[in-house]
């Protein structure tokens, strides 16, 4: 398990990452979301040891993380790049060897993955000749070549078409299935919702929410939607109920507690037809907007 414990990093006056704590259990995929400048990249760099935290620590399997353990992590930085003028296979082998994989195994594995992602014909082409999407694929391949103990990926899906997103998420799932913890950041909230076991929301350097997608939704305020036969304007007058939205016969309201909601339902039944009465499950985007407001 990867355990991030209270890490902090300050640039001059600006506290980029403030006492951030979360964990990535074995075999879990954790989504890291937050606006630009929220501190995601800085946090990931500190996990990888590219930056040193001013305070706090990162633990791996319960112990403070060592350079040796980090060397076995797969990392895809936000500012990505490979040697533009070197053939793609050559540099994948080079990067795998830096992670301690021997040359023969590195070559076999890189070739396999390049073939799998449709780059089998282009292994000897220079990276600068590949399209941005294909460079991105090569970059993701680079991060998994060292048979990583954990994966730290900064925006791995940006710039990929939907088919490539599916290929790459499949690749990540293969890793979690083997028990590898995966942390990735993304702005594509639907994707995070679909792929991740849990989510960490960062806002202005602080963790403002974390948990499974279900936990986050349940933690959100309880809201109901009621659709009536006639005008719903009367809901405003019910005590301990705040109307969020009102549109003719439909009202979305936030009761103080479950009983207040039941009072609304009882009155609605008394007044006539009730065609719908249901709790409103917020989308992840709504939760995100709320916590980072």
């Amino acid at each position: 398990m990867l355990d991030v414990n209270g890490i902090t990093r300050t640039y001059g006056e600006h506290r980029a990452v403030d006492n951030v704590t979360f964990d990535v259990p074995e075999g879990h995929m954790v989504g890291f979301v937050g606006a630009n400048g929220a501190g995601k990249t800085t946090t990931m760099r500190m996990i990888m040891g590219v930056l040193a935290p001013d305070d706090g620590q990162v633990f791996w399997q319960g112990e403070p993380i060592t350079p040796a353990a980090r060397a076995r992590f797969g990392y895809m930085p936000e500012e990505r790049g490979l040697y533009p003028k070197q053939p793609v296979l050559d540099q994948l082998v080079f990067l795998a060897r830096l992670h301690g994989v021997d040359a023969g195994a590195a070559k076999a594995r890189a070739t396999d993955l390049l073939e799998r992602f449709g780059l089998g014909e282009r292994t000897s082409e220079k990276v600068e000749k590949l399209s941005l999407g294909n460079q991105q694929r090569a970059q993701i391949i680079a991060s998994v070549l060292g048979d990583p103990l954990a994966l730290i990926l900064d925006e791995p899906f940006s710039g990929l078409d939907p088919a490539a997103v599916d290929q790459m998420s499949e690749l990540l799932r293969e890793h979690t299935a083997r028990g590898v913890p995966v942390l990735f950041s993304s702005h594509q909230l639907d994707l995070v919702d679909r792929l991740c076991d849990s989510i960490v929301v960062l806002h202005q350097g602080k963790v403002v929410a974390r948990g499974t997608s279900r936990e986050l939704r349940q933690a959100g305020p309880l809201r109901y939607r009621v659709v009536l036969g006639g005008d719903a304007g009367w809901v405003r007058a019910v005590s301990d109920v705040e109307v969020i939205d009102l549109d003719g016969n439909t009202a979305i309201f936030q009761p103080g507690d479950e009983q207040s909601a039941q009072r609304v339902l009882a009155e609605a039944v008394q007044r006539g037809t009730v065609s719908d009465f249901s709790p409103v499950i917020p989308t992840l985007s709504e939760i995100y907007r709320e916590v980072s407001a």
Binding site: M76, L82, K85, G100, V101, D102, G146, D147
Partner: protein
């Protein structure tokens, strides 16, 4: 959790060095420039050997036995200077026929006597290797005849008139030439290698920064390993190229008239090798630091400028030093790389002097490696703009 995929012992610096070498050896520009230099050296030696093997052979047309005798005597003079040289008399019927033979290129000159005056006719001014010996022969014959007529001898007449020359430096001029050329070669080879491969280190550092691959690499291996790999890879390349050039030159020398000087060059050359390596490494980390201080290839010109200027300055200074100043300079780091082997060649050092100079350079390298590594680490992840020297040295 999957098993470790490897049985290979991780030596990241070796992997990095291997990549540096491989990239360079597959770089067309590098291959072409190295081959071009080798061809240039080979051509220089071939041209030199060609002219050396050209024995001078001149034909002189003569109209009578007197002329033939003079040419024959001149031949004896010529032979004492160059055993292969030939001055051959060719008999012609008349002066006119001789002149025609000259203009038609059949002979190099025509020798005849008219009204007691010897004339050497040629197409233009006679070649010195023809005129010289013939003139000397005629002078001594005429003087000898005149002396006999005056009742004395040529020896008695010329006694005490000879001026003997002496080189008071005690060295012969060929040896001076060899020392001059070897000194220049030591300096130029080091200067070019450290500039060329130093620039290539700086470029490869900035390329890693610009493409941001540096973040992946430094997450996988320590910065010091990356730096060590780069420096060692380029040192191996620079050294190999230097050995190749020197090797080809030495082979060239064995075909030339200067092969007798080879034993004299051997000891300085053996000293030059360690000096070259240590001197190169002393600068390599600074080159890497200069690369790390910029963030785009265009920044290189500015960040490497102080280093380039220092190198040019040291090179020019070294060429213009002699005497005590040269002795002092031969202990000065980097300059000692070519100044000390030169002094060894001149033969005025004892065994501990080059050793001391080498130790000073090693100490200096230790400093530059630490300084360079510090700036390198500091600059590596700074991807916006250039890093000033003050900024580069402050902080961790």
């Amino acid at each position: 959790m999957s098993a470790a995929p490897t049985t290979e012992k991780i030596r990241p610096w070796a992997v990095v060095a291997g990549r540096e070498i491989k990239v360079k050896l597959t770089d067309k520009n590098f291959i072409i420039s190295t081959l071009f230099t080798l061809v240039l050296i080979a051509v220089i030696f071939a041209v030199q050997a060609f002219f050396a093997s050209q024995a001078s052979e001149s034909k002189v047309a003569v109209v009578d036995d007197d002329g033939a005798a003079i040419v024959a005597s001149a031949q004896v003079l010529v032979e004492t200077d160059d055993a292969d040289a030939v001055l051959e008399p060719v008999s012609v019927d008349s002066v006119e026929a001789g002149k025609t033979a000259v203009t038609e290129g059949e002979v190099d000159a025509v020798l005849f006597q008219e009204e007691g005056v010897w004339t050497l006719g040629a197409d233009g001014f006679p070649a010195t290797d023809v005129l010289g010996p013939i003139e000397a022969t005629i002078q001594s014959q005429v003087l000898s005849t005149n002396a006999t007529e005056a009742g004395t001898t040529l020896d008695a007449l010329s006694a005490g008139s000879e001026v003997v020359t002496e080189d008071v430096s005690g060295a012969d001029s060929d040896e001076q030439l060899v020392i001059f050329i070897a000194g220049l070669a030591f300096a130029v080879l080091f200067y070019i290698a450290s500039l060329m491969f130093g620039m290539s280190i700086a470029t490869s550092v900035i390329e890693e920064k610009q493409s941001r691959i540096v973040e992946i690499i430094t997450a996988a291996i320590p910065t010091s390993q990356l730096l060590a790999g780069k420096v060692l890879g380029n040192t191996v390349l620079a050294f190999a190229q230097m050995v190749l050039l020197v090797g080809v030159s030495l082979i060239g020398i064995t075909f030339s008239d200067y092969d007798t000087f080879l034993p004299m060059v051997t000891e300085p050359l053996l000293w030059y090798l360690p000096f070259f390596i240590v001197g190169f490494i002393a600068l390599a980390c600074i080159w890497a630091a200069a690369g790390a201080m910029g963030s785009r290839t265009e920044d290189l010109q500015t960040t490497t400028m102080p280093l380039t200027l220092t190198l040019v300055g040291l090179f020019l200074l070294a060429l213009n030093l002699d005497g005590t100043a040269a002795s002092i300079a031969s202990y000065f780091p980097v300059m000692s790389t070519f100044m000390m082997p030169l002094r060894i060649l001149e033969g005025d050092v004892t065994w501990w002097q080059p050793l001391l100079a080498l130790l000073i350079t090693i100490g200096f390298s230790w400093l530059t490696i630490r300084l360079g590594a510090r700036i390198y680490r500091r600059g590596l992840l700074q991807t916006q703009g250039k890093l000033g020297f003050k900024e580069a040295l402050s902080g961790s």
